[in-house]
Symmetry: C3
Subunit: 271 residues, 3 copies
């Protein structure tokens, strides 16, 4: 069994409590995907509540999708408590590059909180890495997608500088810790026509990190392999039917994902 | 026809307006299940809006899933208006036992508002009943589940003390008003691997109470029977496919639930 | 090809960024339907974020479903920025008529922001048009539905007075700009037993307007035709299964909607 399948399987054994401070658009998908792979989701974004909850969590996921002034300080404070307690923090910089508030918050969160993992689309990671980001809203721009080589180098230097595992998800996922880089080629284009597949990747990373806190790099790879493979299975079963059936089939595939499937279907390159 | 089937059927006849002040994780499922059984959901959590809306509602559902300082006073005030107007209030103490804010809010709500019904998992009800709760986030803990006998006694004394109908949902649902107790054994384990099935139970209780305000105990039983049976039907149809298909099938079953099905499939003990 | 099919098809070509300030009940459906037809959804409701995002958007959708004091000024300010930049604004007055806060907000938004289109149920549009509204929560009342003739005249005079395209959705959709009126008879009753179908119509209007800002009237018709037809297709495929399958099939149909289907199935009268 490859190491990634093994780490994924640990989620079902450990049942990590994954605390999310996340957006109200895709939060239900994040909760369901967390349960689907064996984790226990909890959403808490009020200051006192969040600080109590993060203390008993196995991982913390910070997602900027619908950022507001009330929850920004909560994200920062919960991130710092997680750091103090050795709880891994995942950051999903939704829309970084698209507004001043998102840019500043992304900068503050990555500056003030030690992030075990950062996952975004290529435009968002470009922004964090200090490259010019041509994001349009919360989706990656075509111009940015065309510059994948530059983004890969930037992700690597971002990972080196910060110590975070950095993941760019897209047609091919790039995961790097600065030293090692893995490309995951599982997945289907249809994942891009469903809202929340990026956010769900971040939740899956939270689950894998929560179950395997000492293996951050491999945990991120395991999480992204699981989503890519689930996307392929869902596409085979229901892609021809349309977006609604594809969505149900994606949740079906995630809830049935296991080590043998991950082992058999994983397509990745270690570089 | 048993009395529960009859009360459930009344929801489709009365079309109660069910006002929810609830969390942003499962709110969509709550709205859809309310419509599915014949109710009309309305979500309003701003103070002035909520006080107007509750005045025209048939029932009020207060759910602490994503508690925040803005909505806590709204829950309290709306609860008091509902009390003054004789509108039944359902309380879902999500995560009671897991944080100071949740504990204090649960205590204030149950202290200051007369609750027609309280529904939670065993850890949450233990907390309300004054037992030690070993909750982990928003899911019941295994240790608490093992102590079902003690919880049942505590639920009974909580119901006696407060006059609320108290329901513990889980593998077997316990409903008690202190004097009478019903155990519902409908349901499947897979309901626990979908977010929102607990919240939907509370919405269903709101629907049944809204249609039958003078029959609180039987209304809670009817609501929980309907969810348990819908879970079984969904599991038969789609359980083997996975979580996404099970979810769609659960909503299918709720939207087609009727008195004959409730009559035929209900499994409960009156004690 | 009829003009409406043509305008709908433009959404897939233009990929408009549709900024939503909307409720947390149906927001996920709004995001998914926007992607399904080729748009790019972005949800941003914090003041500074929203003002940046609206500046790069193709359309702005303002939806009052879960109104609160924090987001009302954001809706107003974003609406004014959109006006200044020539970005079309769609208004969905959810629950207008049901509470003082909703009534006042609806009045302020329609008074201070130039609205390209307003879409609501008959009770909501009656309220905006100055007729007595007998709304019950967020659903149209039966009494209001019975008065369709009066509502149609009121919608027309509202459109004349404000310059907005006004749409009443229901068993038959009425779209008017004061001068021209179209009735759309596509659709099925089952659309009314799913939460969010109204909100999704408003998102679709945002998509069509964003792609065809110079054709507001025809854009609204195109959007409502697409939802009505998708509802029919979903009902044919899955209506007998229940609400959950119907929902998935509706998203399937929206994601596969195209000009030939719109052309072939559209049922409307131009008056």
């Amino acid at each position: 069994m490859n190491k990634y399948a093994d780490l994924f399987q640990n989620v079902r054994a450990v049942k990590p409590l994954v605390h999310h401070i996340t957006n109200y658009v895709t939060v239900n998908d994040c909760a369901n995907v967390t349960i689907a792979v064996g984790g226990s989701p909890v959403m808490a974004d009020e200051m006192t509540d969040a600080l109590d909850i993060v203390s008993i969590a196995s991982a913390l996921v910070l997602n900027m999708g619908t950022l507001n002034e009330r929850t920004i300080p909560v994200m920062l404070a919960a991130g710092k408590v997680a750091n103090a307690k050795g709880i891994p923090v995942v950051f999903d910089p939704v829309g970084a590059g698209a507004s001043k508030l998102r840019n500043e918050t992304a900068a503050r969160l990555s500056g003030e909180v030690v992030l075990a993992a950062v996952r975004g689309n290529i435009s968002e990671i470009r922004f964090l890495a200090g490259l010019r980001s041509r994001t349009k809203g919360v989706d990656a721009s075509d111009a940015d997608i065309a510059d994948a080589g530059e983004a890969k180098r930037a992700a690597k230097s971002l990972a080196e500088r910060t110590g975070s595992v950095v993941a760019i998800t897209g047609a091919t996922d790039i995961i790097t810790n600065g030293k090692n880089t893995v490309s995951v080629s599982n997945g289907v284009a249809m994942l891009g026509s469903l809202t929340g597949t990026g956010c769900m990747c971040s939740s899956l990373i939270g689950c894998c990190l929560g179950a395997n806190p000492d293996r951050p790099f491999e945990s991120v790879v395991a999480a992204l392999l699981s989503m890519g493979i689930a996307g392929e299975i869902a596409h085979e079963k229901a892609g021809h039917l349309g977006g609604g059936s594809f969505r149900a089939a994606l949740h079906d595939a995630m809830s049935r994902m296991n080590a043998p499937t991950l082992e058999r279907r994983a397509k990745y390159d270690e570089a």
